[in-house]
Amino acid sequence: MAKGVKPRIKVPKQASAGESITIKTLISHKMETGLRKDADGNKIPQSIINRFTCDFNGSNVVDFDMKAGISVNPYFQFEAIVPESGEFKFTWYDDDGSVYEKTKKITVS
């Protein structure tokens, strides 16, 4: 597991049914491209987060495939529809096999 990986998510706490809400996510990760070299001229191997998904109550919201062209600390903003109260589940997949998960609850009135 890569060091210092910390997901941060911004989801509104409340919404009305069927409303579209904006979600912002950021995960701290160095996103090594595999193109850089260290001081001795050896290539530093690629180490990135290659996939991000967001689900709401088991139904998919977005699924992003990422390559090395995504910046350090991958940031995403997107919009979701919330039909009922429930839980968002955010998942990041690292090249080294680690999976980072975080959930956020939302109340629909």
Binding site: D65, K67, S71, E79
Partner: protein
């Protein structure tokens, strides 16, 4: 130590070869060209224009983080390509049933001044694209 003419010539040749090496390494891209990536995504279908909006800064001072956003109301997937990067494939946004506006924002790396291409796959199976030129002052990607 006495430095003979022969030694100087040999050392010089060595330096010349060594200085060429990094250029060769840089020229290697990680596999697919932009055309191959587009073909894989569209399956060779024609790409039209239409309701797709790619927003990029006109000038990016730092190529390491360039904010972009894309929106296409009827898209099921949008692919972003940076045509001047060593690996042109940047990200593929796939939208599920609970996605609202089919829009997404992120930050990407750009090595140099280049065109950024967004291709959207629509619900009816057709493809549309939008292209924006971004001027980069300091390139990203390392290398």
């Amino acid at each position: 130590m006495k430095i003979s003419r022969r030694k100087v010539v040999i050392t010089g040749a060595g330096v010349a070869v060594a200085s060429l090496l990094p250029i060769n390494l840089l020229a290697q891209s990680d596999g697919q060209s932009a055309e191959e990536i587009i073909k894989e995504f569209t399956g060779g279908a024609n790409i039209g224009s239409g309701d797709i909006m790619l927003t990029t800064p006109e000038i990016a001072e730092n190529g390491n983080t360039v904010p972009i956003s894309v929106e296409s109301k009827k898209a099921t997937a949008i692919k972003i390509l940076a045509l001047g990067n060593p690996g042109p494939d940047v990200v593929t946004f796939k939208f599920g049933p609970l996605s609202a506006t089919r829009s997404a924002s992120t930050r990407i790396r750009l090595r140099k001044t280049q065109d950024v291409l967004a291709i959207a796959k629509l619900e009816d199976g057709s493809f549309i694209q939008d292209i924006q030129k971004v001027k980069v002052t300091i390139g990203g990607c390392g290398g």
